[in-house]
Structures are given as structure tokens and as C-alpha cells.
Symmetry: C2
Subunit: 536 residues, 2 copies
């Protein structure tokens, strides 16, 4: 994409970045074939001049007028995150939840000024990084006592400020998006190696605030473990933690802001642990006749101490929906990467473990190669490309009238079989009741020694704008089953506003009280992201 490509105000990415018409036609045919009825023609993307955008309830306070934007484009573009329910509402021209203005701070001092001015004007402030929330995290919903809402866009704070090549760390402003971060680190021979599916349109600050899950499938999977220190602007002042490789001095202050989702302060920069660019890569794909065998292979890999970089299992439905297999095989992608050494021993041992568990691996697969872009194991390479393009595909399927969404969790291995069966049963029943028919598939995005992070995808025929309500019923069934069967309501999508009913049950009550007590310290007026995580 070019630097000046315009962000889509209703869907993923940039305008013109979506699937071309021929591809949309192919998707339409495939889905029509699968669901036994011709899919409707794709609805057109909405035009900005025809959407429903409420009159602002307030103007930007004078002290921040110079960095505030009240244009329709900015207000519409900051109304929603990028969940299915956001896209459906966007396609329907429904921008009722629009913020009253968007602030674009250029400095940390500007951020403090926005908080002060908005608190004075009784305007809620919603921190906005890349805007890729899929849990209602950036939506000005249920404002209650607030006179209006300001979307605080950190996009101008987008620089790598300082690089420490000796410690392999960098001081990075929170508003930087994935590709720009990668580009700024590359001249130093360094890389961030954190690729959530939102990589192209999500920010460092957003990753930290939501405990994003990234590239590594085992070992350090959450961004949490890469934070060395951070600076946070709160309405009470700045919190700066000490840059340290490790510490045992009291509870970790960083861990309090990790997952705080903009409710306690605005992360403006962080010292992050970065990586040397990998030189070697060893990858292989395994095929399994049963999902259980694939699960066993992942568990054994996760407990082996080999720490594969990639260890992603797709069930047969997921593999078929992604055109990677015919629906009879479950696929496992395994990869090792290293900047230091060719991981031959580790990869060979992983092949042995996977074969022992019943996986079919091509002879000779998994040998380390010097890493060259594009030179990847075929299915895994296709998978990766599809991974980053996924949200565009999702938008196309939404335009074709389907319900299409994902949800994710984590659970210990001992519970997994019953958990997987129970979640599928509950969600499939809800899909049948709401949509008549539908696909529910499962993959593992991350794997720990004590359990996997399963990720589910739902595709089903829907009924126009009623699809928001249809999805909400399905999602409720999923949330209920997840919490009842011992999972977490989110492994890496965060809580936002949408996950509140289940998070409120998962969170120990006294911990909830504690978060509210901390909120009163950092943000006594409660101006920051009201409704997210807890009620202040």
C-alpha cells in the first residue's frame, strides 16, 4: 500500500485494499455452493456522504481545537473497531456511535492536554491506536453521564525514538503501526517479530494495552513478555517504569497496564525487547487423520522444550475453508527460526514427535534453510499470506450477506477434549437456530506446555442488518460455553465492551474491586474509556 492510501472508514485496511471483484465472485460461488443457495450479490461499500452520522453533542475544547478534527471522515472512521458487528453496521451506514471529535496529538504533552481538556469539558476519552479492536474497545457506546466522546488517535506518535543494539531493545512511540515499526527497525538489523493478524493496522500501544498475541506460537506469545518499560499518561500525571531486564521488586507495574485497555492511562511509548532478524528457518507441514492426533502432537511439541516459532493446528473444516486441504485432513504447521544457528536438531526432533503422534510429514521436510522471503514450505506460506489478507476476505464475505466471525480462548490440556466438544456443540446449536446452517471450525493459534489457545471461526448464512443480533446470540452461546467449561473469555482479543458479561464472571470479584480502586487513583474522574473492562 502507498503511504497516503486512505483508511477504510467502514471496514478493514485501506480503500481499494480489499478483494478484487473476480475474487469476490469466486468466494460468492464457493459459499453459494457450500450452503446450497446462491449468495446474494455483494452489497456496495457505503459512501461517506450517505451514512447516518449524528450531530456532535459537543465541540472540541478550545485548548485542543488545533489538534481536533470534526470531519465526517474522521468521525466515521473512528466510530468502530473491526469486528464483524462493526463491519455490518458500517455497511448499513449506521454510525450512531460516532465520537464527537477526533484528537490527533503530536506529542506526549498534547496527550496530557487532551485528557485535561476533556475531563474539564466532561467528554469521555477513548484511546485509539490502529482501531483494530474486535471487542468494542474503541466504540463510544453507553456514554451515560458524559457530555460527549473524543477519540484520541495516537497515530502521529509513530517513531522508533532510540535503539539499543547491545541490549536488543528500542524505545518506541505507541502509535506506530506494524509495518512502519518493522521498516524503522530494519536498518539496525533488528525486527519486532510480533505479527498479530491485525499487524498492518494495529499499533504498539494497542498491542500492549490489549495484551496482543503475536507471531510466536510457543514460549513468549503475548506482547507482555517483550515490554521492558513504558510511559503512560494518566489524568493524574505520567507513570514511567524503570527499564530493566527483570526485577523482583514488588508486583510488576508494567503488568498492571498490560491489559488495561485504555482505562487507566494512555501508553505513549515503551522500551521493547526486539529481535535480531532471523537467518535460518526450518518448516514442515503435517497431515493428520484425526483432530485428536493433531492435538496430541501439539501438546507434545509444547511440552518438549523445543519452542517452535510456529505450531499452528487447523482442523479439517478450517483447512478446507482456507482451500489448503479437501476437508479430510487436519493440518499442522511447524516452524523454527533463528538468527544464531540452523535449527536442524530441533526441527528433526519435532518431525519425529509429530510422526510418533500420527502426523504424516513429507520426507526431507523440516530441513533448515537460509531464510529468504517467500521461500517457505508451500502450505504454510499460503497460510501466512491468507492470514494477513484474512480481514479483507472477512469483509467480502460480510458484503455477501453471511455471518462471519471468530472467537478465541485458552484452556488447559486436561480439559481440552470436553471443552472442544462442548463449545462446538453449543455454538453449532446456536448457529443452526439462528442461521439454519453454518460452518464452525477450530484452529490453535498458540500452544503452551499446559494448554492450547483454540480459535474458532463461524460462517453461516445471515439476514442483512439482523446479522448483528444473530451473531450476538451465537457469541453469547460461545461465551457461556467457554466460561462454563473452564476457558478464558479471551486469549488475545481483549475484553473491551463486548466481552464484559463473561469477563465479569471470570475476574475474581476482589480483583475487580482492586481495578476500580486503581482507576480512582489514576483517573479519578473516570474520563478514560468508560465501560471497558469494568464500570468505574
Amino acid at each position: 500500500m502507498s503511504d497516503d492510501a486512505r483508511r477504510s472508514f467502514w471496514g478493514w485496511g485501506v480503500e481499494g485494499g480489499g478483494l478484487d471483484d473476480d475474487t469476490v465472485s469466486m468466494v460468492r460461488d464457493a459459499l453459494g455452493h457450500r450452503f446450497g443457495a446462491a449468495a446474494p450479490a455483494p452489497v456496495e461499500a457505503p459512501r461517506l456522504d450517505s451514512v447516518r452520522l449524528p450531530t456532535p453533542r459537543c465541540s472540541p475544547p478550545a485548548s485542543i481545537a488545533s489538534i481536533a478534527d470534526v470531519s465526517a471522515a474522521e468521525r466515521a472512521g473512528h466510530t468502530y473497531g473491526k469486528a464483524f458487528r462493526d463491519v455490518v453496521r458500517g455497511l448499513a451506514g449506521d454510525f450512531d456511535a460516532a465520537p464527537d471529535f477526533v484528537a490527533h496529538p503530536r506529542t506526549e504533552a498534547d496527550v496530557a492536554k487532551v485528557l485535561e481538556a476533556c475531563e474539564g469539558a466532561r467528554v469521555a476519552v477513548i484511546p485509539y491506536g490502529g482501531g483494530s479492536s474486535v471487542v468494542g474497545g474503541v466504540e463510544a457506546r453507553g456514554l451515560g453521564r458524559w457530555a460527549g466522546a473524543c477519540s484520541l488517535d495516537l497515530g502521529h506518535l509513530d517513531r522508533v525514538v532510540e535503539v539499543d543494539p547491545v541490549s536488543r531493545a528500542a524505545r518506541i512511540q505507541a502509535g506506530v503501526l506494524g509495518p512502519s515499526l518493522a521498516a524503522q527497525l530494519r536498518p539496525h538489523g533488528l525486527a519486532f517479530r510480533h505479527y498479530p493478524q491485525s499487524f498492518e493496522f494495529s499499533s504498539l500501544g494497542g498491542w500492549i494495552a490489549t495484551r496482543a498475541g503475536g507471531h510466536y506460537a510457543t514460549l513468549f506469545t503475548h506482547v507482555d513478555d517483550f515490554v521492558e518499560s513504558m510511559r503512560v499518561v494518566t489524568p493524574r500525571g505520567i507513570v514511567e517504569t524503570r527499564r530493566l531486564p527483570g526485577s523482583g521488586a514488588g508486583p510488576s507495574p508494567d503488568r498492571l497496564f498490560l491489559g488495561s485497555e485504555g482505562t487507566l492511562g494512555v501508553i505513549t511509548e515503551a522500551w521493547m525487547r526486539v529481535q535480531q532478524r532471523p537467518r535460518w528457518r526450518a518448516a514442515f507441514t503435517a497431515r493428520f487423520e484425526t483432530f485428536a492426533a493433531g492435538v496430541r502432537a501439539v501438546r507434545e511439541l509444547a511440552q518438549s522444550g523445543l519452542h517452535p516459532t510456529n505450531c499452528r493446528l487447523l482442523d479439517a473444516t478450517e483447512a478446507r475453508l482456507n482451500a489448503l486441504a479437501d476437508g479430510t485432513e487436519h493440518l499442522l504447521f511447524v516452524a523454527f527460526e533463528s538468527a544464531d544457528h540452523a535449527p536442524a536438531e530441533a526441527s528433526a526432533r519435532a518431525v519425529a514427535i509429530v510422526r510418533e503422534a500420527g502426523g504424516v510429514v513429507r520426507d526431507g521436510a523440516g530441513r533448515p534453510k537460509e531464510s529468504v522471503e517467500g521461500d517457505r514450505d508451500d502450505a504454510a506460506g499460503s497460510w501466512r499470506d491468507m492470514f494477513l489478507k484474512g480481514p479483507y476476505l472477512r469483509d467480502a464475505i460480510a458484503r455477501l450477506g453471511y455471518v462471519v466471525e471468530t472467537f478465541e480462548t485458552a484452556v488447559t490440556w486436561d480439559r481440552f477434549d470436553a471443552f472442544h466438544a462442548g463449545v462446538l456443540e453449543s455454538v453449532r446449536a446456536a448457529v443452526r437456530a439462528e442461521c439454519g446452517d453454518g460452518e464452525v471450525s477450530c484452529r490453535f493459534t498458540h500452544a503452551y506446555p499446559d494448554g492450547p489457545a483454540p480459535y474458532f471461526t463461524v460462517i453461516a448464512p445471515g439476514r442483512g442488518a439482523a446479522r448483528v443480533a444473530q451473531w450476538d446470540v451465537i457469541k453469547a452461546a460461545a461465551g457461556e460455553a467457554i466460561v462454563r467449561l473452564g476457558g478464558t473469555i479471551t486469549h488475545h482479543h481483549a475484553v473491551g465492551r463486548d466481552h464484559r458479561p463473561w469477563y465479569d464472571r471470570e475476574r475474581p470479584p476482589l480483583f475487580g474491586e482492586s481495578l476500580r480502586a486503581v482507576k480512582r487513583v489514576m483517573d479519578p474522574a473516570g474520563v478514560l474509556n468508560p465501560g471497558v473492562l469494568f464500570d468505574a
Copy 2:
């Protein structure tokens, strides 16, 4: 030791577990030789009937009388942790800080009862695991408004309650000590693999409450990363976190209790990630002419992605004091262990990295072997034995009249050279001023990609009971230098009461306010461990 060996009330471990007289004589001769004057004869260990133990200020409340102990042995044995300044006071018969009684709960309900009864009686409660604090964490000092102090000894909560071999996790009561935990896991083929130097006399709950550093020198070094969930009894009720392999649902509740040092609640049990017992081990020792070369080797190993289990660097002084080398060489111990595979490739690569950095490694060293107890690389094996016996040796040196203590920290690699030089300079100056002469040595206990955890040992001639004050001056110089030069006041010894002056500076002020706000939620009367971490 036998199960009924009696714990020493003034020093490390069990009575009779210390060095024998011949060994003490050898130590005396060696130190006399080093410091150019005959060391005084060792002072005798104090006798319980001759120590200064204050009259109790209060009796145990009636509701917990059946689990309370007011004996001199129990009160004296729970007066101090195991720091040098504790041992010196113990040897001098000074038990002025004794708790008024010791409670021995047998159940979680008992723990809640103790909190309730003590709050009602205005008696402060000091949670006590193994009693190995070296930072005044279990000492009833500065009670202020409290009518007395109860030492809450979790020792009866010592069972592995449940084992989940599929997820490799176990539900473990908090009062269990290291050896018993190992013994209870062994029949399941599992191990905890967490060996702080206090291993024999410290507890799971203590490790969690103080963010203990353990066996692994790289990767997951703190106990933090092995916690799956926990149960905590607070004066407001029980907090139970959800057992999960990973989650992104809000800030981690476990991370709030990790490092809370008994100020927010009493950890009664935890689901912990455990390990398969290692089958293979590959170890080697490297010798360096300069410390800088050893530092470079550790940094490159820590950044290599090889994740050695052991990666401990001893400077020449430390190596000499431990009789492992003659004082001209710096030593590095590197080891890999695995339950899954012989780590030949990793070990060979580590040897190459170390040699490239200037380390001398014996040809053929580092080849994996099937792991047999005792079958270790020689210097590393000696080091390990000495490691666990270290506190007994420390007590003997204290009995000989020396100042002998350690302090530790962590700092990023970019700052390390100046940090190391500056800390040594400040501490050596303080040692000269207080003691005339002395040794200050440094080793690395843990190593991260972005920095090491240096650990310093001080041995110097002292002046009887004045050694507490002498040490306090030296420690203040260390703390000042550490905080000024960018380190943390503690990597794994915790904060307790002794580290407060520097922790208070290291901790962001609004985070300190937040901890106090959380304290008011969990422990509104402030009955738990007053004076530790913060003033409520």
C-alpha cells in the same frame, strides 16, 4: 536431614546442619590468611534459655488459641529471616523483635480465622513460609499502632493436593518446602525445577509472594512464569484466579499477588506448571582471562535463543573465594537439560559462542549425557553443592566475626560496564571506610536477552554486634549506586522492610498509590505485614 530435625532459631537450616568444627577451622585459617590477622575464635551458637525475648504484649485471641504457640522456641525461631543482620542479632541473643505468638493453621479456614481474630484484636499478621527472607520480610519491626504481632506459619499446608499429568501442572499448598515438594512430585515423574539458594528452607507461597528467582538461568527465571492460578485468603475473603495456560482478559490478577509479599493476602495454594524430570544434561565450564570477555559470552548466549538452563558467570574473586580457581580466572558454567532430547546441537553451538568470546573450554566438554545424579561437570558440580550449603558457610563466617552478605540486582547490557564499575567502586569504598579491608565479588545468577542479574558478595572483617550497623552503611552505598546507575534494588531477594528506601524511589509514585488503594480493598484494616513494600 531427618524429618524431625529441629530448625535453628538463630541461623540457617537445622540444628547440627552447619559446618563441622574442622571445616570452621579451615575457613578461619583461610580468612585469617586473607585478611592478615588471625580470625577470632567462632562465637558459640546462642542457647534458647539465655536469649533476650520480650514479654508478649498480647495473648493469642481465644478463637485461635488452639493453633497458637507462645513458646520461647517458636517466638525466637520466628523473629527474623536469614539475612546477615538477622544472624548477627541472633548470635548476640537479641530477639527484641519477636512476635507475640505464632499461629500454625492446618487449613485454609484456619488462615481466615487467624486474619479475622487478629484484626479484631488489633494484632498485625506476618505471613511466614520458610522464614528465609533476607530483607526483613518476616520481622515484626515498627509495629506502630498495632497491639502485637502474630507470625502466621503456613508450614502445615504442605501437600501436593492434585496432579494433572496431561497439562503438567499440580495444585500445591503454599507452605510446602522445596525438598518435600520435590519428593511429592517424584512418584509422578515430575519435578518443580526451581532451586533458589534457600530451596531447602523456603516455601512455594514464599517464592510466589516474593517473586523468587530459581534454577533456570535464562528464559523463565522467576517463579512468576510457573503460576497457573492461585488462591489467596484476604481479610475481605478469598481470591481465586482461574486456572489457564494463558489469557489476555484484562491485567493479570496473578501478577498483582506475585511480589505482594504478604501485604494483600495469604497465598494458600497455587496451580503450578511443573516439569518432566530431565533425562539429558550437557554441561561445560569456560575460563576467561577478563571479566569483560565472560560478560560478552553470557550476553551472546542470552541472545542466541539457545536457552541454556545454567549460564552462571563468576568473577575471579568469587571463583577464588569459592576455591574453584586461583583468582586469575573468571568462570562460566553453562548447562542444558532436557526430558525430551539430547541437547547436542545447542550445547555445541554454546561452546562455539563461548570460545568465540574468548572462553577456554576443554575439548569434548558439553557433550550430552544421560542424566545421573552426581554425574556432573566437576567445577559446576562443586559449585552446586556449595550453593545449597552456602548459607551454613555464611553463618560460620558470621560466627568468626566477619561481615558477610550479598546483594543482587538486574540491569540492561548497555549500562552494565559502567554499572558494574560504579557499584564496585561505591561498595569497596564503603567497605574500606567501615572495615578497613574486604572482598567484594560479583557473579551473574540469571541472564536475559536485554541484561544480566548481577549478584555481589561482601566479606570483610567486622566489629562484633556493630557489624549490623557496619553492614547497613555498606548496603546503603550499594543501594544508592544500584538505583543511581539504572539497576533494580532487587532481582529476586524481594523488598521486605530493608529495601524500602530504594524501592520507594524505583517504584513509580502513582503505582505506589495504586498498591495502597488495592491494599484498602483487600485488607482495609492494614493487618497484613505492615511496613513491607509500602506504608498503608
